[in-house]
Symmetry: C2
Subunit: 461 residues, 2 copies
């Protein structure tokens, strides 16, 4: 185990040269930002936050988060106006404005991805006005509590999450943020102890470093339905693991169980997905015997944190609509890059014309149920009573083809998420079965489809 | 309403001539039986029971039940030996031995179906040794309590049950026995009041004429899961409605609701099922778009009360096996006459080769689940984790064709009921889809298939 962890550390820990490069860049950015504040006569100061500030960054991470702290007294509009003025001036032409909870500026700088984020400088974390105001407090908490012996442990935890595909709180991943990894290591005392404990996690696990909730079941109730509940030490009303989906949670727990049984480098650095050729994709589809529908459209121009929840909403809507029409969806997925894709894999794409319509149970008056169906031209048989005592009509199925159901559901924009709904309304294409290889000329799509067809937890690849 | 009931009574009430014919036959049978007892030196006496004894028989009913009451002191073997000796002698060559809870003799006599049933003459109903010993007590109870004004009401209730297809406690019908109809009328005071009350019945309705259970919920617990609980006035440990299936229960309740809303003769005398021609059967199947499998075999030589539960057991087994293999059965039915048939109607008869295998939830150790499937040649994809956090493998389906599943299940005799299992093991044929018309050369089969395809509550025909 030790040998493996040492070998991993060697690969993920920034070298002195890496560190120097980062430090030079951050120093320069802080200086520039502070100078810009003076120059524009704005009362604000720059603060480096995130893993770069805490020495918990992986060599592969190239993110610098500079927060521009403005006085509490400002109105929201003023904060945005003054903060963005500074950020824009610092970034210059390299800058690009983005919008999460409120606007910020991103730029490339000396090989790093830099975020310049205006926020309020609020003394008490309980009084913050938006999520970003919390970051400086996180920064202070971790700096204070995370001893230097634990820095390597955090790197291992983060690389482990990265390897198993669960790193990042962004909505595309719905996984573990860097801050969450730091808190977990802080709580358990080492990467190995984290792995050991997490092997036994059940959904609704509560981790409460500051014992903000004397009774953990209270925290469980407060964050009901969230698989991992990690109380933010700087704000007990917040679950740092709120983004962790059941899929990420279960993946991490399984990874810990497997790693505890047989540690290996493949958890940190899994083999990449092998890209299948067009012929292999067709052969795999043939072998599976299912029908894969792929809805393709131009992705709307929104950030991934807006796009992915909408893609998943659209996916759920389509799955539900198909299921209601009698077409069980075996597996589905979404993806976006230069194109947005919704995959739906079905066992059956045609159903018989007749279907069963179940009436109210015997203890409930039938009302118009019988009369309505009795007169209907769509009646095949009924009313009769089945062995369970239910009243049954057999009537004509509205839609006997899955494609019809799909096309109808795609026509109802409102249930697909706002931007995705609009994008689909502008136009889409359905690729069915082997025709999907037409999309696979795009290397990225081909990778996604290959991963879908050979899907496997990364450490089993 | 009154007009309808009067008109029905006119059709179902035996005429004086009918009555005379019956009385002559029963008197002769009683006399013969008593004489035979003397002749054989057997200490026993004949008793007429059932509707013939109570003046609650419908003109269409031609049953005479003669019970041969033997002394309590006899052993079971002696009871059967002596009782059957009398019955055989009375019936002579016309007799046929049958076996329910114990043996009895049936015969045709002057146009009537006669049962000659040996039983113990037991003073207290609570001390009876088998179900048949109860009949003389029922006889005495009804004779004592059912006033002559109620006799017509019983006839209406029985004809109503007959019309809606719920008359008879035999296991083919699983409906309402004559005795049950008598008790219901006795309890509610008239046919109309019965209909009115039953319109509001919910499953687990308790009817307790003698208030044997001061707390009805106790009766409900005692007969849990039985839709209609009618406590036997002569034996509180027995539910007279035990045979009533959920289907019969719900059918009767719906019929009462509909009759109360719009009474009509069609409840008592529904139109017969129209027999479809071979061409119509094929067209109906085509229109439904489903696949109908019909398993046909020679019925085993057992009474219907033994055969039907086994046919239904076999039906349930096949439905379950198909469902487990991924083939939902839309509707199914059984039937027997010169052939035994099990019908299974499926929406889909072929499934893709791949299927999903779900592992244990995240809170449970996986054990060998992963290793077993990982090495399997039948693996398509996995292990991976789905959005619900479940561990998934995609593996090759054992049986991708419904017919294969069906044939395999039919090969496993033990799960099909003893006699039916043996009969199927001797040989069967599967008719698929339109081939079923080959069976329809038999008029009775054709009637059954026609009824199946146009199924409808009788009063809606």
């Amino acid at each position: 185990m030790d040998k493996i962890l040492k070998s991993i550390l060697k690969r993920v820990k920034p070298t002195p040269a890496d560190r120097e490069r980062l430090e030079r860049a951050t120093a320069e950015l802080i200086e520039q930002t502070d100078a810009t504040c003076s120059k524009l006569g704005i009362k604000a100061k720059a603060m480096l936050v995130g893993s770069a500030a805490r020495n918990t960054w992986l060599r592969s991470e190239r993110d610098i988060d500079i927060f521009i702290l403005l006085p509490e007294g400002l109105s929201r509009e003023e904060l945005e106006r003054q903060g963005l003025a500074v950020a824009r001036e610092v970034a210059g032409k390299r800058g690009k404005e983005s919008f999460a909870e409120h606007p910020y500026v991103t730029m490339r700088f000396k090989g790093f991805d830099v975020d310049l984020v205006p926020c309020y400088d609020i003394a008490k974390p309980s009084e913050i006005r938006s999520a970003v105001d919390r970051s400086p407090h996180h920064q202070r908490y971790i700096t204070k509590h995370l001893k230097s012996e634990l820095l390597d442990e955090v790197l291992l935890a983060k690389q482990f999450m990265l390897g198993i595909g669960c790193y990042g709180a962004e909505l595309k991943v719905q996984g573990f943020s860097g801050y969450l990894c730091e808190l977990l290591v802080l709580h358990y005392g080492s990467f190995e102890k984290l792995v050991e404990s997490a092997s036994g996690w059940k959904p609704s696990t509560v981790i409460d470093l500051e014992r903000s909730y004397p009774d953990p079941s209270e925290a469980e109730r407060m964050f009901e339905g969230q698989p991992l509940i990690t109380i933010d030490p700087v704000d007990a009303s917040r679950n740092v693991g709120a983004a962790v989906s059941m899929r990420s949670f279960a993946t991490f727990v399984r990874a810990c169980q497997d790693f505890a049984q047989g540690p290996g480098e493949q958890f940190f650095f899994p083999k990449p997905v092998r890209r299948l050729s067009a012929r292999e994709i067709q052969a795999t589809l043939e072998r599976r015997g299912t029908t894969l529908f792929c809805v393709a459209f131009s992705p709307p121009d929104v950030v991934p944190d807006v796009l992915y929840p909408q893609l998943r909403k659209a996916e759920r809507t389509l799955v539900t609509r198909l299921a209601r029409a009698g077409f069980g969806v075996m597996r589905s997925d979404v993806w976006s890059n230069s194109q947005a894709l919704i995959l739906l894999e079905l066992a059956v794409t045609r159903l018989p014309r007749v279907r069963t319509r179940v009436g109210p149970p015997v203890s409930i008056e039938v009302g118009d149920f019988i009369q309505t169906h009795l007169k209907s031209k769509r009646k095949f048989a009924g009313p009769f009573v089945d062995t369970a005592g239910r009243l049954i009509f057999e009537i004509e199925r509205e839609q006997a083809s899955a494609r019809e159901v799909l096309e109808q559901a795609l026509g109802e924009r409102t249930t697909l998420g706002r931007h995705v709904g609009e994008a689909i309304a502008r136009g889409y294409q359905i690729y069915k079965g082997k025709n999907i290889v037409q999309l696979c000329k795009d290397e990225k799509v081909s990778e996604f489809i290959s991963e879908y067809l050979t899907r496997c937890l990364p450490w089993y690849r």
